[in-house]
């Protein structure tokens, strides 16, 4: 299967990763939170240029923009924005995070130290108004990311959930950069879905000039009970994960 598709981004693109050595001693329940998960298409060739050789692309190329609005829990209120490229580790859907922002220094450090997200401090806001869901990131006075969804429809019954692809991030390992998986549980209380619209997108500020969405897929908003779990897996960047396997991390409970 030598013609299988893999990413071809190397360390010059992906960097050496964030040192994420802090231990998370058990699950963290954040209580009620908002989740805004919007997906867009972009060219497969550009996705391949942003993924390492250990993962397969998703076809079509997909970029995911995720906002959290968290009001409870040990970090106090905070908001987060993540920008990731959809990929397949082994053959399961994941999003490789290329940019991350958080609204408080505590949240920035928490995302970096435990999960390796390349988080920066910014004014991150996720708001639900009478007619739309709006997520914004303002960094140093510049509106670098803004996504909104109007005319949302409620998704009811047994299908009232959002299938969130787990994020993975490049972290600094002892032998070089690795991928680490972020895991969380979302207990959905309400889900809305509509057609998202990007009203601000600064590729340079999002760390990847070539990452430019071209077509919309969906924008979904959930009211959730949000629980974050300790990281369990790290994976290499250069060999296919389905053959090289994953490295299990010690989980402190």
């Amino acid at each position: 299967m030598s013609n299988d598709l893999f990413g071809h981004a190397d360390a010059t693109v992906l960097g050496q990763g964030v040192k994420a050595d802090a231990v998370l001693d058990g699950d963290i329940a954040f209580g009620s939170a908002q989740l805004y998960y919007s997906l867009f298409e972009f060219p497969v060739a550009q996705a391949l240029a942003l993924l390492p050789p250990s993962v397969h692309p998703c076809i079509p190329g997909v970029v995911g923009v995720t906002f959290w609005n968290v009001t409870e829990g040990p970090l106090g209120p905070f908001e987060v924005a993540l920008v990731g490229v959809a990929c397949r580790t082994g053959i399961k859907p994941r999003h490789l995070i290329h940019a991350a922002f958080a609204s408080t220094p505590q949240a920035v450090n928490w995302l970096r130290d435990h999960f390796g997200f390349p988080a920066r401090l910014a004014d991150v806001r996720l708001r639900e108004s009478h007619d739309r869901i709006l997520g914004t990131v303002v960094e140093n006075g510049v509106n670098v990311l803004e996504v909104e969804t109007q005319s949302l429809l409620p998704i009811v019954g047994g299908n009232s959930f959002i299938k969130v692809s787990p994020p993975i991030a490049v972290v600094s390992g002892t032998d070089g950069p690795e991928l680490q998986q972020f895991e969380a549980s979302y207990d959905f209380k309400r889900v809305l879905r509509g057609v998202p619209r990007i009203t601000a997108w600064q590729p340079q500020a999002l760390n990847r000039p070539q990452l430019v969405p071209t077509h919309v897929i969906s924008g979904a908003h959930g009211l959730v009970e949000f629980t974050v779990h300790p990281p369990r897996y790290r994976m290499g960047l250069n060999q296919a994960i389905e053959t090289a396997g994953v490295r299990k991390l010690e989980v402190v409970v």
Partner: protein, 368 residues
């Protein structure tokens, strides 16, 4: 029990017109050899934009080629995608009837609605309406076949009075089926009197409740066509070889190849929350999780990779479960040499088909 073959027309990279044609020609040859070896059905999928996984965008054209190369082989749309952005209901009625006439009455009309963003998003289809559209299609198409002239006033299918031509060869019309992937669709099939083409490569015990539910519900169905097609076909895999271990090793490779190509698609339920798609479709459901030890070397007990004796035992299990037809995938990205696929088909015909016939006769107390 009858046997079918299921052609995805999976095509390996690097793509070229020559390689594409080779995939098509090999699949036709498999159908020809299959007919000589006791296979009754050739099913051909319809997929769009699914790189490597399936380059079968025009199943009616493939089936026409098989029709001209065979004499008795039934020709199954597996499936005709009943989504307005892709095809109108009239066009499906025309194409199926045309093939039915040209083949002397061999069409089996499978229907479905697609489950990937690749396809539905690529055509700009209204994802939330696919089930509603499919429901109108399966009710409208048999009317187009059986009524001299027809006018239809639906939300999706809406046409003034016209004579849809040609009319099918089979009377009153070809048997109709629906692809069953998500749990519950077997009930949708049964309620409408449609055959269930079950597209989940599961083990026998897990399939049993769905088979039983289908048989129970269809007793009180309101058929959308002129007759009830009370049939269950289960899609499976086949590689038959004298050495069972060798066959299973090749089978694992086929499954790995299939899973790889299926994995890259974007299932609707992954990216587009909808009341219309709660479960993963076939492609997503086949993904093994490399992180989960229990998923490693997952090999359902109903799969037909093995020696003729082993495959016979497996098929007896399916037969006892009440399945009318087992439909086999036999290739992925041309991973197996064509000669090996053909020999597998011939070996199946020589050694498995007679064994099953003998078993059936024994159960019925007949003499072969």
């Amino acid at each position: 029990m009858q046997f079918g073959m299921f052609h995805e027309l999976s095509t390996p990279r690097p793509f070229s017109p020559q390689r594409q044609r080779s995939v098509y020609e090999n699949a036709i040859e498999q159908s020809v050899v299959g007919e000589q070896s006791g296979f009754d059905f050739t099913w051909c999928v319809e997929h769009h934009f699914l790189e490597e996984y399936s380059h079968s965008s025009c199943p009616d054209q493939f089936l026409m080629a098989v029709a001209r190369a065979t004499e008795k082989m039934r020709l199954g749309f597996g499936i005709a995608t009943s989504v307005p952005a892709m095809h109108s209901a009239v066009r499906w009625a025309e194409k199926a009837a045309f093939l039915d006439v040209m083949s002397g009455g061999r069409v089996e009309f499978g229907t479905g609605r697609s489950s990937t963003w690749n396809e539905l998003g690529g055509f700009g289809a209204v994802v939330d309406d696919t089930k509603k559209a499919w429901d109108e299609y399966v009710r409208a198409i048999p009317k187009m076949w059986t009524n001299e002239r027809v006018s239809i006033s639906g939300q999706v299918v809406n046409m003034p009075e016209r004579m849809v031509l040609p009319k099918p060869w089979q009377q009153p019309h070809p048997p109709m089926w629906v692809a069953v992937t998500a749990p519950g669709t077997e009930i949708d099939a049964a309620a409408r009197g449609l055959g269930a083409l079950i597209l989940s490569h599961t083990d026998i015990n897990r399939a049993l409740p769905r088979l039983k539910a289908y048989r129970e519900r269809i007793k009180t169905c309101e058929p959308v066509g002129a007759f009830v097609n009370n049939k269950i076909a289960v899609v499976n895999w086949l590689y038959c070889h004298p050495d069972g271990d060798y066959a299973r090793a090749r089978g694992e490779e086929l499954l790995a190849s299939f899973s790889y190509t299926a994995a890259q698609t974007v299932e609707i339920s992954e990216g587009y929350p909808s009341g219309n798609y709660s479960n993963l479709g076939l492609l997503g459901s086949l993904r093994a999780d490399p992180d989960a030890p229990s998923d490693k070397k997952k090999f359902a007990n109903g799969l037909c990779f093995g020696s003729p004796e082993e495959i016979t035992e497996t098929l007896i299990g399916w037969q006892d479960a009440g399945v009318d037809q087992v439909v086999f995938l036999m290739q992925s990205r041309e991973h197996l040499p064509q000669a090996d696929v053909l020999e597998s088909i011939r070996l199946f015909g020589r050694e498995v088909v007679p064994r099953l016939a003998a078993h059936r006769a024994k159960v019925k107390g007949e003499t072969v």
